[in-house]
């Protein structure tokens, strides 16, 4: 993992998938161990800090001041009683946040990977999130223009991969992974299962073609496969 992120530069933009499952936990912990700073991140949420060195992730990078901007659907805690990770840093001006409706976020990423510079969506029309943005009516309904996102890097979590870089995801761990893999220049993938030879994955079953993938790393023994949400404990790769 450390080798895969060794040349990660400062001031890069990074796509981070995950919605519960599907987070590239091991690559993020490896990035934490580098000195990379000045990040712009694109993710569903910002998350929280972790005490476990193997679960260090976006929340930790933000709190350490290594992120200059987050683009997310959750930039603050969803619970009024609980202060979110980014809130104090935004208040004192050390972090910039851009809050995006989740479907708009997903479509901005998909568009980035599909070569579409902008699109119109009804989401957010009539709310603060659409203020100051270009509006246009189609068939009598108001839409707001949103622009595509494309990043320097994407960290991806795959279930299976072959040596050609073809990827498969499992269940709801798919979430943002396929669209982020298509919307970044450098795509680094951590893989749960042993990487098989090219040809061993049926072409009809491939979720992301290998042409998008820069680097593949199998999650090593002891690496984090899942987080037990009830206990916060890591479930680790055993073989």
């Amino acid at each position: 993992m450390d080798e895969a992120v060794a040349s990660f530069p400062d001031n890069a933009s990074l796509m981070i998938p995950g919605f519960g499952p599907g987070q590239p936990t091991n690559l993020l912990a490896a990035l934490w161990r580098t000195n990379a700073t000045g990040l712009t991140t694109i993710s569903n949420g910002v998350g929280f800090e972790s005490a476990d060195p193997d679960q260090k992730g976006l929340g930790d990078l933000v709190m350490a001041g290594r992120v200059k901007k987050v683009i997310a659907a959750f930039t603050a805690s969803t619970r009024p009683s609980r202060t979110g990770t980014a809130e104090a840093l935004v208040a004192n001006g050390t972090l910039e946040a851009e809050l995006v409706p989740q479907g708009t976020l997903a479509e901005r990423i998909r568009s980035g990977g599909a070569g579409i510079p902008a699109f119109y969506t009804p989401a957010g029309v009539g709310t603060e999130t659409a203020t100051g943005k270009e509006h246009r009516d189609f068939n009598g309904r108001a839409f707001v223009m949103e622009t595509a996102l494309f990043a320097d890097y994407a960290f991806i979590r795959a279930h299976k991969a072959d040596t050609a870089g073809n990827l498969l995801f499992r269940r709801a761990a798919r979430n943002f992974n396929p669209i982020m893999a298509m919307a970044a220049k450098n795509v680094i993938v951590e893989v749960e299962q042993p990487i098989v030879e090219a040809g061993e994955i049926d072409p009809d079953q491939v979720h992301v073609p290998g042409i998008y993938v820069t680097t593949l790393v199998r999650i090593p023994v002891g690496g984090v496969l899942h987080i037990n949400r009830a206990t916060g404990m890591a479930i680790r790769q055993t073989a």
């Binding site: 708009t104 603060e128 761990a173 899942h226």
Partner: protein, 227 residues
């Protein structure tokens, strides 16, 4: 003798939401009370549950030993079961389903709701917006689902009404709410009015009106909730 006052539990509120689902509907359940609705749907309703994370056709919450860490609902943490015929799409396609207008009803939590069908659930202050908030998929869902059902406490912790003439917090959508299930009442939202349809055990229309910040029209069919 008057019945003892018994506010609805979160599970009972979820059960009321489940009673209001039509046959064969495609339904999206938001974080909070709505996620529990999946436990109260009956097989004969043939509801298809859709989640923002791309799971289409999930079932009740997973019991002990049934959990799969890769199968969760919109909370991103609660493990759920998959029904036969379930399918998985990526996040952008999950929202393509939403924007295409496939969702018959989205059930969401909320801080405030008004008779014009507007509601607020993403920001708890009116301070100038600094781009902080927990918006999730609510705006996409609210602008594209055929109906919006809300599940919320009838008042704030300080006893202030949450059903108001006009939302004082920034709105999630300027219209679209059709049903509000609170811990003491079931209120339909139609033609710019709140219509009081049902009450929790022991609550009168006058008592519900007293903690509501907008006029309630009492339905001719006003009755006790059946959960």
């Amino acid at each position: 003798m008057a019945e003892e006052k018994q506010p609805l539990t979160r599970d009972q509120m979820a059960a009321v939401l489940a009673q209001n689902m039509g046959y064969g509907w495609i339904v999206n359940l938001g974080i909070g009370i709505p996620t529990n609705v999946s436990n109260f749907l009956t097989p004969d309703q043939e509801i298809v549950l859709h989640s923002e994370n791309g799971v289409i056709g999930y079932g009740r919450l997973a019991g002990e030993g049934e959990e799969d860490p890769d199968i969760v609902n919109a909370s991103a943490t609660q493990p759920v079961t998959l029904n036969p015929g379930a399918s998985i799409v990526h996040h952008a396609d999950a929202f393509a389903v939403i924007r295409r207008g496939m969702i018959d009803v989205t059930c969401l939590g909320a801080y405030q709701v008004a008779p014009d069908g507007s509601f607020a659930n993403w920001k708890t202050t009116n301070e100038p917006w600094n781009n902080l908030g927990g918006i999730g998929g609510a705006m996409d869902l609210a602008s594209c689902a055929k109906q919006i059902y809300l599940a919320m406490e009838h008042t704030t912790r300080d006893g202030e009404p949450r059903l108001l003439e006009k939302c004082s917090l920034p709105v999630t959508a300027p219209s679209g709410v059709t049903l509000v299930v609170t811990n003491i009442a079931v209120v339909a939202v139609r033609n710019g009015k709140f219509i009081l349809e049902q009450h929790a055990p022991g609550y009168t229309a006058e008592e519900i009106q007293a903690v509501t910040g907008a006029p309630l029209e009492v339905s001719p069919d006003f009755r006790r909730v059946a959960v």
